[in-house]
């Protein structure tokens, strides 16, 4: 089987690359092992959170950073394409790349964000709270959302919170099984006809408040439930992030995947690339675990397999390696140097990753592979947590590599 481009990894970066290439007419395949970082999506995408203005913040980044390889001006131009691209997929974001706004974390802390889902609560870039008094609701018995933390965070910023719990007989079944009261299970229950009932319960508390805030536990299968709920609630309703799994994250991944498939892309779920077939400095094809001797061939390949948690990088007692193709990685030899004693310091291991040239070509034994590209969190020399750059690097490197492939075809 022959494709124009094969993408390894079905998370944010792989899907964006696949969609961009497919909408320009390429025949693409994505091989995905399953879970990705979208499963703990906060509701917001970050570009660079070191300062209020992403452009200024990006100037602090080292020369080896992926944004630098793209070029900061180009990166900001690419960023302009992201909101319309998601709109095509059916997901609407608010925010812009000129100035970060703030998202509200599950612990009631404000963090800088570039784009936030329309239905989510957010605070404008000036940091002034948009409400004086809110109803802060939780589903009774749901332990992955803590109103006390959020109420304390909002109170510090002068917002009065009326905290209430919602019980519904339909959720009782979940509560009888001690492990069932999780965000995705609640979202599976709170759908269809129950949206009306839920809205009625919410409206009991939606009097004399500026807005209603609740955990993002609605809309696993699509936007429809979210839209209907917002319509039926008397006051502006905004969602807040829960602890994982992330309902909107799972929905976002599903919508991106569907859009990719609608554009003609082939999405192979639950498969893993076993090895690459190399011809000189080119990658000719890949073999997967589920497809035996079949060699999937393509003109170009993108490695978007993620970091350690997604198994895009693997470590053992002796070192770090890239498990699919055995690509060269940037890491440190001495294990004690991988860590800092304080968990919240910048951990060196977090910036380990596949080494690439400025064109995002990885190398094997020092030799660049000319038709292979790496994108997203498998890349070295960025520290998504400390820079507030995870989603931005995933998306912008994917768009940049897609542009490169299209230009060269």
């Amino acid at each position: 089987m022959k494709f124009d481009t094969i993408i390894i990894g079905g998370g944010l970066s792989g899907l964006i690359a696949g969609i961009e290439l497919s909408r320009k007419g390429q025949k693409c395949m994505i091989v995905s092992a399953g879970q990705s970082a979208l499963h703990f999506f906060s509701g917001s995408l970050e570009l660079c959170g070191l300062e209020d203005e992403p452009a200024k913040a990006m100037e602090q980044l080292p020369q080896s950073h992926p944004y630098r390889k793209i070029g900061l001006d180009t990166a900001l131009t690419l960023a302009e394409r992201v909101k319309p691209l998601f709109a095509e997929v059916g997901v609407n974001f608010k925010g812009n790349a000129e100035r970060n706004h703030w998202r509200i974390t599950p612990l009631g802390v404000l963090k800088r964000a570039w784009l936030t889902l329309d239905e989510y609560a957010s605070v404008p870039s000036d940091g002034l709270m948009p409400w004086k008094k809110v109803a802060l609701l939780n589903i009774d018995g749901f332990l992955d959302f803590h109103t006390s933390y959020i109420a304390a965070g909002l109170a510090e910023r002068g917002v009065e919170c009326v905290v209430k719990g919602i019980s519904m007989p339909e959720l009782e079944r979940l509560r009888h099984n001690p492990t069932e009261m999780r965000s995705t299970n609640i979202a599976k229950t709170l759908t269809g006809e129950l949206i009306g009932k839920l809205a009625a319960r919410i409206n009991e508390y939606a009097k004399d408040v500026d807005a209603v805030l609740m955990p993002a536990v609605v809309g696993l299968a699509g936007n429809a439930d979210v839209v209907r709920l917002k319509e039926k609630v008397d006051r502006p309703l905004h969602f807040l992030a829960t602890l994982p799994p992330s309902v909107p994250g799972i929905r976002l991944q599903m919508m991106l995947k569907r859009h990719f498939q609608k554009l003609g892309g082939v999405y192979m779920l639950g498969d893993t690339v076993r090895e690459g077939v190399f011809e000189g400095d080119r990658l000719a094809g890949i073999m997967t675990v589920n497809h035996g001797d079949t060699c999937f061939k393509a003109d170009n390949f993108i490695l978007a397999s993620g970091s350690f948690f997604s198994k895009g990088l693997v470590s053992d007692i002796n070192g770090v390696r890239e498990p699919v193709f055995g690509l060269d990685v940037d890491s440190l030899d001495e294990r004690p140097q991988w860590y800092r004693k304080d968990m919240f310091e910048a951990q060196p291991y977090m910036s380990f990753g596949v080494a690439t040239d400025v064109g995002f070509h990885p190398s094997r034994n020092g030799q660049p592979v000319e038709n292979l590209y790496a994108t997203g969190s498998v890349l070295s020399n960025c520290h998504p947590m400390k820079e507030g750059s995870g989603a931005g690097v995933a998306i912008l490197t994917a768009l940049h590599v897609a542009d490169t492939i299209l230009k060269n075809q």
């Binding site: 109420a151 492990t179 198994k311």
Partner: protein, 538 residues
């Protein structure tokens, strides 16, 4: 503030807990002071091995005899803290098989059941053991949960009228002339200085007892011995596995609940480092290399964390150099030894002999106070173990029982009935790895004095499973926040809890452990912004 007690016990490890129970059971008005949480020292940082005594049989008959006697007592009085696994002492091709008969003879002499079994039979009993073994001896080793055991002792002491104050650091001993008549302590949570008066002070501070003794003006020569251990995320072995040779590094593999532990290394440590122990990469390498000789599967098993405990080795009084070390129980009457009446030190010994240590110390205390009461701690069962196992099982079968019930029963024994799980919200699980319910967490907060997540972990195992507190820590913090009414405080606590976990993880930070650590950081720092609550360390 000043109150009068018969005895004040300093130290909330197993020795202090056992001594508090014994004293209280003999009718003494007892106060236990602990500077941190219960089991925060060596008690919480060891194998959790229910020694049969076999390990000491060849080198130290006296310790071996004490071990087997206490082993049999603990099986009875602390059945909910003990798992009767039995143990194997295996001989590998590189070991001297001739040692086996000496070993068995010494065990039998000490009263320890020891039976040589065929290597094939040994592998059938314990399939994880090294297939190359050329000999095996079966002994009555087992596993004991030191957290549970300590909490049960403290709980029983309280039932007998003792008062227990954690997070109270003894800052000085009050003396009248040469006599010790009480202590001054600093309540680190209320940030308040307090005075407690008593007729006797018993120093049960483990290695920190060196310092407590010096406050009284006495010198007890203790040498800190560090022992590093690794915890694996999967229970590889069902029986304890030892090497049949003279005790050496990393030659005991102990199963416990869903995990197993390999240890220990042994090295001297400067006294000023006892509060800040690091496991070095070299120690990790030794533990893994030697551990894999006992059970080769360990090489492929995920390591949850590394940690180290520090044991007090007590030098004989006539040998300040520390070359002549006693591993036995040391009970010092400072009145006769140093001319300091009112002060007793109980040290040396080991987890296995805590009850006996407590008995010795309490016997001495009673003699001094003119109290004529016999020790009953070897006969009367601890709370949680009172009834026959049959009864426990019956209780377990009554009514609707969830995963949380079953797991809680393992941890709290017959005390489980005090955990109210009638409501479905109470039954919902905070920690899925370890089956800890909302009700159990609330029970630990209300009844067992848990004030923070680390306290909760010690009392319920929350955050100790394979995920190492990934989501349960946040859920537990939420419940604590609700109980103490302060969100900010519980977030500070959550940040320090996660950081404490990390310190045990990074020495073994590769493979799945590193992947999990990265995920945890993405959640807590990335999604949640917990870094805003972390205290900068110097």
């Amino acid at each position: 503030m000043s109150r009068e007690y018969d005895v004040i016990i300093v130290g909330g490890g197993i020795t202090g807990a056992g001594t508090a129970r014994d004293c209280a059971m003999r009718g003494l008005k007892t106060l236990l002071l602990e500077r941190l949480d219960l089991t925060a020292g060596a008690t919480g940082r060891n194998h959790g091995l229910l020694h049969s005594g076999a390990r000491y049989a060849v080198t130290d008959q006296e310790s071996a005899e004490e071990c087997i006697q206490e082993n049999m007592i603990l099986r009875r009085i602390a059945s909910h803290c003990v798992e009767e696994t039995d143990g194997l002492f295996i001989t590998l091709p590189e070991d001297d098989l001739g040692f086996q008969s000496t070993f068995i003879d010494s065990c039998l002499k000490a009263g320890i059941r020891a039976e040589a079994i065929d290597p094939k039979e040994a592998l059938r009993l314990e399939p994880s053991a090294n297939k190359d073994l050329i000999g095996a001896v079966r002994v009555p080793d087992g596993a004991v949960d030191p957290f549970r055991l300590t909490v049960a002792n403290v709980y029983d002491a309280q039932l007998h009228g003792a008062e227990v104050l954690t997070y109270h650091q003894v800052t000085s001993l009050i003396k009248e002339g040469d006599r010790v008549v009480g202590v001054e302590a600093y309540d680190t949570q209320a940030r308040q200085k307090k005075t407690f008066r008593s007729r006797l002070v018993i120093n049960a501070g483990g290695i920190w007892g060196h310092h407590i003794a010096s406050l009284a003006g006495a010198t007890v020569n203790m040498f800190p011995a560090k022992g590093a251990l690794l915890i694996f995320g999967h229970r590889v072995n069902n029986m304890v596995i030892n090497r049949c040779r003279k005790p050496a590094d990393a030659d005991i593999l102990v199963p416990g609940d869903t995990i197993c532990l390999i240890g220990t290394t042994s090295s001297r440590l400067p006294y000023d480092q006892i509060d800040d122990m690091k496991v070095t990469p070299e120690e990790v390498d030794i533990l893994l290399r030697e551990g894999a000789k006992l059970a080769p599967q360990l090489m492929e098993t995920r390591i949850l964390r590394a940690y180290a405990g520090v044991r007090p080795l007590v030098a004989a009084d006539n040998d300040p150099s520390g070359r002549s070390i006693s591993r036995g129980i040391v009970c010092l009457d400072h009145e006769t030894r140093d001319g300091i009446p009112g002060f007793i030190t109980i040290t040396g010994g080991k987890l296995m002999t805590y009850r006996l240590m407590a008995e010795w110390a309490t016997d001495l205390a009673c003699r001094k106070l003119g109290v004529d009461k016999k020790c009953q701690t070897a006969q009367i069962c601890l709370p949680g173990s009172e009834t026959e196992e049959e009864k426990q099982k019956k209780e377990l079968q009554q009514g609707r029982r969830t995963l949380g019930h079953k797991a809680a029963h393992g941890r709290h024994g017959t005390r489980t009935s005090a955990i109210d799980m009638n409501d479905s919200e109470d039954a919902s699980l905070v920690c899925e790895c370890e089956g800890v319910s909302v009700a159990e967490v609330n029970y630990a907060i209300e009844e067992l004095g848990a004030k923070n997540i680390i306290n909760l972990r010690r009392r319920t195992r929350v955050g100790m499973g394979t995920c190492q507190g990934e989501l349960c820590a946040c859920r537990a913090a939420g419940l604590l926040g609700k109980a103490n009414g302060c969100a900010r405080k519980s977030l500070d606590d959550l940040a320090s809890f996660m950081n404490e976990r990390w310190k045990g993880m990074f020495p073994v930070g590769w493979g799945e452990t590193l992947a999990e650590a990265q995920f945890t950081s993405w959640i807590y720092e990335g999604v949640c912004g917990l870094d805003a609550f972390s205290k900068k360390e110097e």
